[in-house]
Amino acid sequence: MMIEARGLVRTFKTKRGPVQAVQGVDLDVADGEIVGFLGPNGAGKTTTLRMLATLIQPTSGTATVAGCDLAKDPVGVRRGIGYVPQSGSTLPEAIAGDEVVDHARLYGVPKAKAAADGQRLFEEMDLPGLWRRQCKTLSGGQRRRLDIVMGLIHEPKLIFLDEPTTGLDPQARANLWEHIRGLRDRGATIFLTTHYLDEADALCDRILVIDHGKIVASGTPEALKQQVSGDAVRLSLADATQAPTVSKIAGELDGAVEVETDGDVVGFRIPRGGSVLPGLLRSIDAQGIELQGVEVHRPTLDDVFLSMTGRSLRDEDITPAQTEEKQEVVA
């Protein structure tokens, strides 16, 4: 196990009294996995990550990270991990290459090796020719990749990425995902936080859904989606008055739930929606009812989140500026 945490709790003192940001998190991450921590802003993702990265001490609970005990050997943990914070890790005025080399030297990497490794990583991370550039002259995507180089320079076996693509444009995000997958291919274990559903879906082998400081679900993206009771089927009728009949037929299907009628549309959920459709259509046809359209939707991670918490993650999708404000309160 690369991470094994039990009962992690973190309470912050605020002006309005203590706030329990993380309320008893258990988690296991195996070697070579990409695990995503999915949840809305303020759910406790960053706080948990900061605890695991030795930046803040847990109020209670234990953890072993990269083979070292978090409480007894934080320095050992630091040696084994790379941490890419949301806020960046380089000074705008500094020279990119200098920041990388100095950072590596704090890990005890000799200067010459740090420079050679750093330049190689610059090539790998699509930062050619930027070694001697001031950090502030880099684009947002380049800056994030520079942060990742900073986090990788001492060859850690475990890498923490805090909201790696927040504030990036779609192209830069897709590009960064490729790089993150590449890290895993090199044998690193990756633990990242995100509040983007598509990111968790596209990138992670396993997802931990966190809300209000507690893990509410965990599994592969596929398994999580299957936990939601099936695919969503929507039938549009030519004649709204026939809706009750269609609704009755749908309700009699094996495993159909949440049958609802909205005007001329009948919707319900059913496992493996695609395979029940032919039979359903024949029954409807046998009644002489005409359909205008049929849709089947695979469940999304948002459906998972909705079914676990009663809220949609999409409502929480807010701008990066607001994210920072919320983080201040939590961190």
Binding site: A53, T54, L55, I56, Q57, V75, R78, R79, I81, G82, Y83, P85, S87, G88, S89, T90, L91, P92, E93, A94, I95, D98, D102, H103, R105, L106, Y107, G108, D147, M150
Partner: protein, 254 residues
Amino acid sequence: MTTLRETWIVFHRAMRLSLRNPMWSILMLSQPLMYLFLFGPLLKPITAQISQGATTNAYQVFIPGLIVQLGMFGAMFVGFGLIAEYRAGVIEADRVTPASRIALMAGRVLRDVVVLVVQSILLLLAAIPLGLRAPWSGVLLSLVIVALLGATFASLSYSVALITKSEDALAPLLNGIAMPLLLLSGILLPMQIGPEWLQRLSDISPLKHVVNGVRSLFRGDISSSSSLWGLFWVVLLTVVGLAVGARTFRKESA
């Protein structure tokens, strides 16, 4: 040994960043000279009064005060730079490395001290043509005092910066401390020329004793009681300042 090596790495980075900023270098060199040339001449007419017959040159009294002021004010506002680093995530990035927390602070403080000592030496050199005369031993000890004062105020400034994490909170706080410290320390004019009550009040300020100490070092009275008191106070301040700084850098919330 590792801590020393890490301190050197942090120092080296901080120094390189400071030197890369040409505006900063120019300001750093010009400030003490501005005091010397724009404020110094004002002291000429009141030389007799402030030197109390012991010396005839105003700079003999003024320069020791100026270098103490440098040590104090030059270092007091370094916290702003640290907040900028914090904003950029640099402090966080430093803190996830296995480097000693003390080194992360000490390297930055060392940079500030080197800057202050260089500024002080420039100031002293510029004052020689104006009539400053002092024994080598006194000057060297005074530079040590400036370095210690700088280390004290730099680590205190870093501590406050790390705790507040906001320029808006840091600025009024530092100014609020700096003002009474400056006025009660006798840096610009010796407290001895003031009324009795003001002198008693200024006794509370350790800095006044430090300034008096440096003044007597410049007169060559190395073993005089005011020199020794000055040294005593500056060492005490340094111990407290560095301890507070180290504690803040170790603390998790920093």
